[in-house]
Amino acid sequence: MLDQLERYADHLEPYTELRLHKNHQSNVVMVSGSLMTNQSTTVGGVSARSYRDGAFGFAALPSVSDDAIPRALDQAMENALLLQRRARRAEGDLPDAGAGTGIFDHRQGRPPMTAKERVDLVREIDAHLRCTYTDLLSITVGLQTLGIEKALVTSAGAKTYSYVPRAVLYVDLAIEASDGNVEIYDVFGGFGEAQDHFTNIDPLRADLARLYQELRDKAEGAYCEPGEHDVVLGSEMAGILAHEAIGHTCEADIVLGGSIAGDHIGDVVASEKVTLIDFAERGPDGRGGIAISVDDEGTPCEDVVLIENGVLKALMHNKETARIMGATPTGNARAFRFDDEPLVRMRNTAILPGTDKLDDMIGAVERGYYFKRPTNGQADSTSEFMFGVGCGYEIVDGKIGRGVRDTTVAGVAFDMLKTITHVSEDLTWLHGGWCGKKQLIPVGMGGPAVKCRIGVGGRS
């Protein structure tokens, strides 16, 4: 793909990005023993974005053929000129952000799983669950793979190719409780191709047994007491805390759209135990959920330290927000599909581990909750965030108690983060992780367990 673009690279002017982009996906879903989805998808095309005297024009065509490329370039320029003619004052050049180069193919070279192997794996997991746990009301098993393949050249000199794979297996179980159905799910896999994670069912058996036990605990559990509580957010929860509570608030386009983070750079916004980074590559342990080395504007990616020892330090930028705010682009411009324009997006966002032990953290709570796994979440420009909790337990006198039903936790990030008293020594990345902001995009979210005070939704 990169070869195809290189012939245009020296002729791009004024500022222009030219991208060939294919998303390769497969999806197998079995619901209660019926194969609902058995599909593979390859969608792709060419896009160009031009910038002329303060005006951006973007165009995309559904082809990677040689004749589509000049048409996309012409159309992007035509759109930029339309905007310049009708609406835009001259606002100067985009900042120089360097020019990313290199080949970043993250495939391991193992033989790909065939359609039959993908279906057989899902079928085997379904059968195992059905035979082993006979009281399950419903079983849903899904195997989803995604390979994002891009080649990019820019007028600033960027020339890069990347292939970033991700494969996740999700299992959703439901059981009948005394007051209705109770459901739980978990996600396995992550960065890499399906064959890197799922050669057979054996490594999953222990996790499936643990998931079933969590379902039983939840079915026999209680609704949370509403209000603010002492809570230990497990390490799988901390990633979504990093993403929703702080990450979105620190995206520069969100700041331009009213986020209060812009008013707090240099302020103490969290406990000094909190350091939070959006990693360009795969994080300190090399296990983050996504890998971005050059962003979709051609900027070489750098880690962005958002919070360092409790102090808010920086924002995430693309070239446009950097120009407006007098900052340096950070390599956070990402597009999901061929016909998407790059937006300010997170990569692998994580709270760094501390030194505390999870058992000690739970032991330090007299009465509260241990929340293990999240569901969905949402941020706000005020830094008030929420995320759902799909698996959790009561803590009574420092010990794990009954399971709890689905709930939601919420708070104002710049207040809640100051209540963190413990940060565990481990680091866990969510296996999946999507972010919605005009476009869906895969992201990495990680962190240690933290002990804090946080609002919990529940029934009186």
Partner: protein, 436 residues
């Protein structure tokens, strides 16, 4: 914008029927193909200016093949013959790896072909004019509102369906979409963000004249200095038309084929029963909503259908596949809903609320199979002794949507038209409202 004039609905149908024939020649026992060709013109803007003009074309072919009663699918971009042939082979591989399922059957030739040709094209100059005028009006009328990631777009779609039983459908449709995201910022004071989308078949020169958009901005400027409810209580919640959308989406999920197959719905045995009070009526109403497709993924015409009438559950949402899978009558494979207005005024609903929340937006965990919900009341206001007193922050609501339906005590006669939905205000009770 990039031209798609070389294509017409007939050409798209040719692509679909050709792909079906290729699948049969490759050994499929049956096949269906949905070809979708889309052109989009989009004007992006923020508080200050137009930020981007974007035009895109997509050309998507979704191929499903059958090997006996086993099914496999592929999707690809474009219609080049070699690419289609490769996709067919991939789909056949998937089908042969699949499960036999007696519900995997194709419908016969349609009695009523749904050839629709709404040959509208975007008025791009008007769209740019409308956004520029909107930005100027915003500076005058709402100087404390900031916005980001907003756009005004026009989408033209050619959809063509063909299957190996000779069923064909084709439609060309177009609609405008305005999507606005906004929050309030006054010095260091800020409000929560909020957003709204409005669909229409005709362009709008005055974007502020759209009720949904004006409501967004008026609600935002009224939301400075938000604070929590005074204490935790169980009380009333009045769902705004925007929040009613959350209720409808939850209902749609609970009445659909997947939920029925999984027995994951509290309404499983409630067909014909009263599941809601207050005259609650939901209709599947594509004929009166913008952006509704002309036909579903099996080529069936998208028709109006009562779902809940005066509180009684009249129909599940069962498409062709699930009608065979569940042995239930087929109802619809599409999703275009509106909620009928009631008899009371919004002022009356508020006046009859002793203590509660006017819920602007639910930001919470996805409701579970029992339809329990728990989340933050965003863009919302506290009601006490029949009066709206102040905007809310750090306030959570929790309850159960089955109970919400059973506790409806009033539905407003006023509605808000979002183009692709029309909703009233709905007052209900028994919801836990909590603060820290």
């Amino acid at each position: 914008m990039a031209s798609g004039t070389a294509l017409d609905p007939g050409t798209g149908l040719g692509v679909a029927t050709d792909a079906v024939e290729r699948a049969l020649r490759a050994g499929a026992h049956g096949a269906k193909v949905l070809h979708t060709y889309t052109e989009k013109f989009e004007v992006n803007f923020d508080t200050r200016d137009i930020t981007l003009v974007r035009s895109t074309v997509d050309d998507n072919l979704a191929i499903t093949v059958y090997s006996d009663t086993r099914k496999g699918s592929t999707q690809l971009t474009g219609r080049a013959h070699d690419a289609v042939d490769r996709a067919v082979v991939e789909a056949l591989d998937a089908a042969e790896a699949g499960e036999r399922d007696a519900a995997n059957v194709l419908p016969e030739q349609a009695a009523e072909p749904a050839t629709v040709d709404d040959a509208s094209a975007p008025d791009t100059e008007l769209m740019v004019d409308a956004v520029l005028a909107h930005l100027e009006a915003m500076r005058d009328r709402y100087p404390t509102i900031v916005s980001d990631s907003s756009f005004y777009s026009f989408v033209s779609t050619w959809r063509s369906y063909a299957n190996s039983h000779g069923r064909t459908q084709q439609a060309r449709t177009g609609h405008y979409e305005l999507a606005v995201m906004a929050s309030g910022k006054d010095g260091k004071k800020a409000t929560s963000f909020n957003y709204v989308a409005h669909l229409s078949e005709e362009p709008t020169r005055d974007l502020l004249s759209l009720a949904a958009v004006e409501r967004l901005y008026e609600g935002t400027v009224a939301s400075f200095d938000a604070r929590p409810v005074p204490s935790t209580f169980v009380g009333d919640v009045i769902f705004t038309p925007e929040a009613v959308e959350t209720l409808v989406e939850t209902l749609v999920g609970a009445l659909g084929g997947v939920a029925l197959l999984r027995k994951a719905t509290p309404f499983l045995d409630r067909l014909g029963a009263r599941i809601a009070e207050g005259g609650f009526t939901v209709e599947h109403a594509p004929s009166s909503l913008a952006g509704a497709p002309a036909f579903d993924g099996e080529g069936f015409v998208n028709r109006d259908l009562p779902i809940i009438s005066d509180g009684v559950l009249e129909n599940f949402l069962v498409d062709w596949y699930f009608s065979h899978k569940l042995d239930r009558p087929m109802t619809t494979g599409c999703g275009d809903f509106l909620v009928r207005p009631g008899a009371e005024t919004l002022d009356d609903l508020i006046a009859n609320t002793e203590r509660g929340v006017l819920l602007g937006r639910y930001s919470g965990g996805s409701p579970n199979q029992n339809l329990d919900f728990s989340g933050v009341a965003k863009n919302s206001f506290y009601i006490e002794n029949g009066k709206v007193t102040h905007p809310l922050a750090e306030t959570m609501v929790a309850g159960n949507f089955v109970s919400v339906l059973e506790s409806i005590r009033g539905i407003s006669r006023e509605t808000v038209d979002f183009g692709d939905a029309v909703n009233p205000w709905i007052a209900t009770s028994g919801i836990t409202v909590s603060t820290k």
